[in-house]
């Protein structure tokens, strides 16, 4: 057992972790944050994407013990049901969510990209989400939603 301290969505946790535990399982099973999804287990679908110190990461490839002293953002930290993040609002408004399974990872990838590049071209948007697979929407509305969210965020409109 290894003791770690990790911040998830601005909450600090002290956890005892076995080395072989994956971050995605700790987030889902221990912290009960089930917004982060398990898709492929091999880092190819992006459903498990979380932000670690602002960088998008496949949590299915990340040993939880490495999260010591890190700052993690899951989809639950992006917005609240009564106060959605502009990215979430834009996804809903643009029908960019169908089954919803890819959405948490997709939105966090979008956030990471927009944090770094607030005025992306369409190509840059596509590159930003290129690690997230969606089987439902065909991506067109996702890209539109991100474009719209980028504009809202640039204008500094409050969430």
């Amino acid at each position: 057992m290894i003791s770690i301290e990790v911040t998830v969505n601005n909450n600090c946790y002290s956890l005892d972790i076995e080395p072989e535990e994956l971050l995605v399982d700790v987030i889902r099973d221990r912290l009960r944050l089930t917004g982060t999804k398990k898709g492929c287990g091999t880092g190819e679908c992006g459903a498990c994407t979380v932000l670690i110190d602002g960088e998008p990461v496949n949590s299915c490839l990340y040993l939880a013990v490495r999260a010591h002293k890190k700052n993690i953002l899951t989809i639950e930290g992006l917005g609240q049901p009564d106060k959605l993040h502009p990215i979430q609002q834009a996804f809903i408004k643009n029908a960019a969510v169908q089954c919803g399974f890819c959405a948490p990872g997709m939105q966090l990838s979008a956030k990471a990209m927009l944090d770094e590049n607030p005025d992306p071209t369409d190509l840059e948007i596509r590159e930003g989400i290129s690690g997230n697979l969606c089987r439902c929407t065909g991506y067109v509305k996702i890209i539109k939603a991100i474009r719209e969210a980028a504009e809202i965020l640039r204008k500094g409109e409050s969430i």
């Binding site: 990461v57 496949n58 490495r66």
Partner: protein, 293 residues
């Protein structure tokens, strides 16, 4: 769920060696990004008594000195793609880094890990071969420098010995070197290379090719140089016809296998075309990708 293993995160390379020596031979596996290792542990392709996390060994710096760029082995592709030294001095490496895996895997995957996993399709290997990169391998008793092209001995097999750690990738900076890298796959991201190709040409003041490198990946048991194609190019004026011929020669140097991805015959035809195009594009003005990776 993964099977049980021990875990250490040493602060110095000596601590790492100590942990390696305490394990049974081959049972202490080095953990860099984990993007290859974790799936391998999950599928039970690999087993370990203990993982040794390299992230605190300060092997993730990039510096430029004495006409060489020195890259720490545990540098992520995300960092490599964005680093100002790489973008200024070796923009082709930034471009290559941006084509590996996906945004999320690049936050974890490291250049050293890519080389040490030693898949025949390893993207950074092909390019580093063209750049005449040299690898620093460190053990408790010695350090040795191994050219990238001598590092691979078979599919997923390298010359790394039991107690050795790859610490640095050293890339010499060369004047008038024009390079290009192409990765061909079924998708633009999140895919293993069906084939990849890197080319480097050094052109003299008269416009003649002084030196040539053509390297290919996923077309033989290891990443390889197309030496006959290279010999053809040296001493000649660059031209479309010359590059076409180089493609034809390279096509006969490779040892492709037929897999579910593509037949050997298709890979040969692909090689002919991709070698030609990579050589052509190495001459055109190169700009790093707009995106940061």
């Amino acid at each position: 769920m993964l099977e049980e293993f021990g875990y250490v995160c040493p602060n110095t390379i000596e601590e790492a060696f100590s942990a390696m020596s305490k394990a049974r031979p081959g049972q202490a596996l080095l953990l860099a990004g984990g993007t290859d290792l974790i799936p391998e542990l999950r599928s039970k392709e690999k087993k370990a008594d203990c993982l040794i996390d390299l992230s605190k060994l300060n092997l993730n710096g990039i510096k430029c000195m004495n006409d060489k760029v020195i890259i720490g082995a545990v540098t992520t592709f995300r960092k490599l793609a964005r680093d100002p030294i790489i973008r200024n001095e070796l923009p082709i490496l930034s471009d290559c880094a941006n084509q590996i895996g996906a945004v999320q895997t690049r936050s974890l995957a490291t250049i050293g890990g890519n080389l040490c996993t030693a898949a025949p399709s390893a993207d950074s290997a092909t390019l580093l071969m063209c750049l005449d990169a040299v690898l620093r391998l460190v053990s408790p008793t010695q350090e040795r420098l191994v050219p990238v092209e001598d590092f691979f001995v078979g599919p997923r097999k390298t010359v790394l010995q039991d107690m050795e750690i790859l610490t640095e990738i050293i890339v010499p900076l060369v004047q008038n070197r024009k390079t290009n890298f192409k990765k061909i796959g079924r998708r633009k991201t999140v895919c293993l290379s069906l084939i990849n190709c890197a080319a480097a040409l050094r052109i003299d003041e008269k416009g003649i090719i002084e030196e040539a490198r053509v390297a290919l990946g996923a077309l033989a048991p290891t990443p390889m140089r197309a030496m006959e194609a290279e010999k053809l190019l040296v001493g000649k004026n660059p031209s479309l016809e010359l590059f076409e011929e180089a493609g034809k020669i390279a096509m006969n140097e490779i040892k492709p296998t037929t897999s579910y991805r593509a037949s050997a015959e298709y890979k040969r035809l692909l090689t002919e075309a991709v070698v030609k195009r990579t050589l052509e594009d190495s001459l055109s003005q190169f700009k790093p990708l707009a995106g940061k990776g």
